[in-house]
């Protein structure tokens, strides 16, 4: 039977896999921005930079719990990580539909509003719920896009987002019920599975041998 610290270790390892996957997707998207000046890819890169830093912060908080000498495990840092993650999901969801101006405005509101008015636990609840809805929106839009293009990769990404969505739903549930450890682990496993599926288009750039030398 896995102990509490074993589960914490697994959760941390999975968080750092999430960091790697997110920054890889962000890197490929950024290369795309440099070469095509596409605003869609810019929003995608932004989303995964936020997600990557969100996972990194959460992973570091977990590391602080394993190594007590590191003063990292504070509510503020946890909220900071969740806020980064939620902002990432926000950009991911709205990169389908809104223009950059609107995204910036809503993003700013998301950053300021809850911090001023709510307590720490409430902020975590709200961020969990927001993440869930943003991912859900992303699933719907990607599914709609698949209906138009019929590209298998798009369906795969919709599946990946669905797993992340179920993961964030479990994250939300873990705030309400007592099986926090199990639900948190389940949430991270689903989230990482989803992220690994999102990693497949990146593999085409690294394994598939697409070679583009510098900006054109």
């Amino acid at each position: 039977m896995a102990t509490q610290s074993d589960m914490a270790l697994i959760q941390n390892i999975l968080q750092f896999i999430g960091v790697f996957v997110s920054f890889s997707i962000a890197y490929v998207s950024y290369r795309g921005v440099k070469q095509t000046e596409s605003s869609s890819l810019l929003r995608l890169a932004t989303a995964f930079v936020f997600l990557g830093f969100g996972f990194l912060v959460e992973g570091m908080v977990g590391l602080g719990q394993l190594v007590p000498s590191l003063p990292l495990s504070t509510t503020t840092i946890v909220i900071g990580g969740l806020l980064l993650e939620t902002t990432g999901y926000f950009f991911l969801a709205f990169s389908h539909a809104v223009d950059v101006m609107l995204a910036k405005r809503l993003g700013a509101a998301l950053l300021v509003f809850p911090v001023i008015t709510l307590s720490g636990a409430q902020i975590q609840d709200i961020l969990g719920i927001l993440s869930f809805y943003f991912v859900l929106y992303g699933v719907v839009e990607t599914g709609y896009s698949y209906a138009r293009t019929r590209k298998p990769d798009t369906l795969l990404i919709a599946l990946g987002l669905s797993l992340i969505g179920v993961g964030t739903f479990f994250q939300w549930l873990s705030l309400l019920y007592q099986y926090v450890g199990v639900l948190s682990l389940l949430q991270i496993i689903l989230q990482e599975m989803g992220l690994l599926i999102l990693f497949t288009p990146v593999l085409r750039f690294t394994v598939g041998g697409v070679k583009v030398n510098g900006p054109i």
Partner: protein
Amino acid sequence: MAQYRTQVRIIADVLSTARDQNTEGNGVGVTTLLRRGNMSYGRMSKLLSELVGSGLLLELSGEKISKYMISQKGIQFLVAYSSFEEFAQSFGLRL
């Protein structure tokens, strides 16, 4: 539903036409580019001079009219464009 083309999409369309329609190897005329590119003459002229200036297209000056041929850099651009377009489409987005 009508979809607006982004600037990069227009460039890719013009370069693709210059590549695909150059069957005889002596370049493609403005008329062909206009017909395939679906834009005004003024806008096309401006775009062509930009593309020639950036080295994506080669201008072959004839006695009466200029013809255009895709450069090696233009071919590289199309490869990059199609890769990133596929990447964006995987996420349900378009460039």
